[in-house]
Structures are given as structure tokens and as C-alpha cells.
């Protein structure tokens, strides 16, 4: 039980980070993606900062303890140099959706408590997309 309380807190901290960084504001995200317009480079700093902090545990060489059937952990279960069609097509589709909305999965979940119908529509469709993947790719 204690470990779940920890995990809950990590999710909470993660969400606060997204909010403080303003990743939860689609207008701000789209301003970052709009390089030829009124460009707001702030979110590049979010990524750099997150990478610098997370880079420390990675240097300490902490390896995740995951099993092969944990599909959401494929970031560590797939060889680092495997560049396949799924990676390229999937990332392109994700980028298209992100560019249309300014919302990625973390902020979509944080947005569920915003009280805005737009947030519910997006999150509902995103979970439908997750489920579609499970159906089409027969994930075990």
C-alpha cells in the first residue's frame, strides 16, 4: 500500500510540474509550435530542464524493473536503436493531433478537472484512440 501512496504522490508532483510549466495551456503549447508566428520558445526550456533533472538518475544507471508484457513500458523494453515504421508513423500521427489541439496525454488528464467541455471531448477521444490501438494491434 505504501508504494502506491508514493506513486500517487509522484503523479501529483508530475501534474503540478505540467501546470507550473504551463504545458496544460493549449494556447501556450501552440505558441511554442508556431515558430514562424509569434513564437514562444518557453516550452523548450521545460524540456531541457526536465531532461537535466531526470538525467541525473539515468547517470546513476537505475534500470527500470519491467516485464515484457508491460506495453506501456516499451520505452525501455525496445532496443534504443530500433527505428521502425510504427515509430515513424505513430509519432507523425501523434504530432498531427498535438499540433491541431496543443494537448498531449499528461495535460489531457490534468484537464479532466478543468470543468471545460473541450477538455472532456479531447480526453474522451484520446482514450478512444488508446482503445482503438488495443483493438487493432491485439495487445495482450
Amino acid at each position: 500500500m505504501a508504494k502506491y501512496i508514493y506513486v500517487f504522490c509522484f503523479g501529483l508532483i508530475f501534474g503540478l510540474g505540467l501546470i507550473i510549466a504551463q504545458m496544460t495551456n493549449p494556447g501556450k503549447v501552440l505558441a511554442f509550435l508556431d515558430i514562424t508566428g509569434d513564437w514562444d520558445p518557453s516550452l523548450a526550456l521545460v524540456m531541457i530542464s526536465a531532461l537535466l533533472v531526470l538525467g541525473v538518475p539515468q547517470r546513476l544507471n537505475i534500470t527500470p524493473n519491467t516485464s515484457a508484457h508491460e506495453h506501456d513500458q516499451q520505452i525501455v523494453n525496445t532496443p534504443k536503436h530500433l527505428i521502425d515504421a510504427n515509430l515513424i508513423i505513430g509519432s507523425s500521427i501523434f504530432g498531427l493531433g498535438w499540433g491541431l489541439s496543443g494537448i498531449c496525454p499528461g495535460p489531457a488528464i490534468v484537464g479532466l478537472t478543468s470543468g471545460l467541455s473541450e477538455s472532456y471531448v479531447f480526453a474522451g477521444a484520446m482514450f478512444a484512440g488508446f482503445y482503438l490501438f488495443k483493438l487493432l494491434h491485439r495487445e495482450r
Binding site: V7, T24, D38, H81, L87, F94, C104, V121, F130
Partner: protein, 140 residues
């Protein structure tokens, strides 16, 4: 150029990195939000309850932040139908590509994974092109 929010971006990013680091150190799991969120959909696996706890933490982050007296700016201009399409694309694409902004963009790059670096470049590029087309070609 738009106003750059340096302090909030660096602070928020560091908190996101710290939350990901804590999940890695204490729970030995990678903070891939798309995968963790998709993992709560059926069919369930016996050991997947940590995902619900992490998502619950994400879920309560915004209400807690507001309770502390802070505002969370949310600007959504896209119409609901576009948000529904974008949500589907984000959900399906992030799963097919094996990660999202947090998964490839932060956790994967921190592992110096070429796969994640390529994925991040692809979704940044396609999102940027999408915003360019929507704002400056179609003029929406």
C-alpha cells in the same frame, strides 16, 4: 516574439523531471503518460494498479493547485469536432509510436535512446507543420 516565461518553464520542467526520477528510483517504472493512461483500459493485468494511482495523482493536481489559490490559464480555440479528431490522433498515434511528449521527449531522451530522439524530432516537426498550415496557410 511572445513573452517567454523562463522561471515557470524551468521550474515546471525540473518538477516534471523530478517526478519522473522519483517514479524511476522508487517504483522502477518509466513515466510514459500515454502508456500509463492506456494501461488502465481493459483487458487489465494483475499488476497494473500502480497506473491508476499515478493517474489519480495527476487528476488531483489541478484541484489542489487551485485550492492553494493559484489560477491555471487554459486557452482552447479549436472547435469540439477538431478536438475530438485531435484526441483520437493523439491517443492512437502515441501508442503506435510507443510514447508521447513525456515518454519519448523526456524519459526516452534522458536514456539517450536514438529511437526516442527520432520520435521526438518527428512529432515536433509534424506538430510544427500542422500549426503552420492551420494558422498561416488555411488562416484559421
Amino acid at each position: 516574439m511572445a513573452e517567454i516565461t523562463v522561471i515557470s518553464a524551468l521550474t515546471g520542467g525540473a518538477i516534471i523531471g523530478a517526478a519522473s526520477a522519483l517514479l524511476l528510483i522508487k517504483h522502477k517504472r518509466v513515466a510514459v503518460i500515454s502508456g500509463i493512461a492506456a494501461g488502465v483500459l481493459p483487458p487489465w493485468k494483475a499488476d497494473s494498479s500502480w497506473r491508476l494511482w499515478f493517474l489519480a495523482g495527476l487528476f488531483v493536481s489541478a484541484p489542489l493547485y487551485r485550492l492553494a489559490g493559484f489560477q491555471i490559464p487554459i486557452q482552447i480555440d479549436a472547435p469540439p469536432i477538431l478536438l475530438a479528431i485531435a484526441g483520437l490522433l493523439v491517443g492512437y498515434g502515441s501508442r503506435l509510436g510507443g510514447g508521447c511528449t513525456s515518454g519519448h521527449g523526456v524519459c526516452g531522451i534522458a536514456r539517450l535512446s536514438m529511437r526516442s530522439i527520432i520520435a521526438t524530432l518527428i512529432f515536433m516537426l509534424t506538430a510544427g507543420i500542422t500549426v503552420y498550415l492551420v494558422r498561416h496557410v488555411l488562416g484559421a
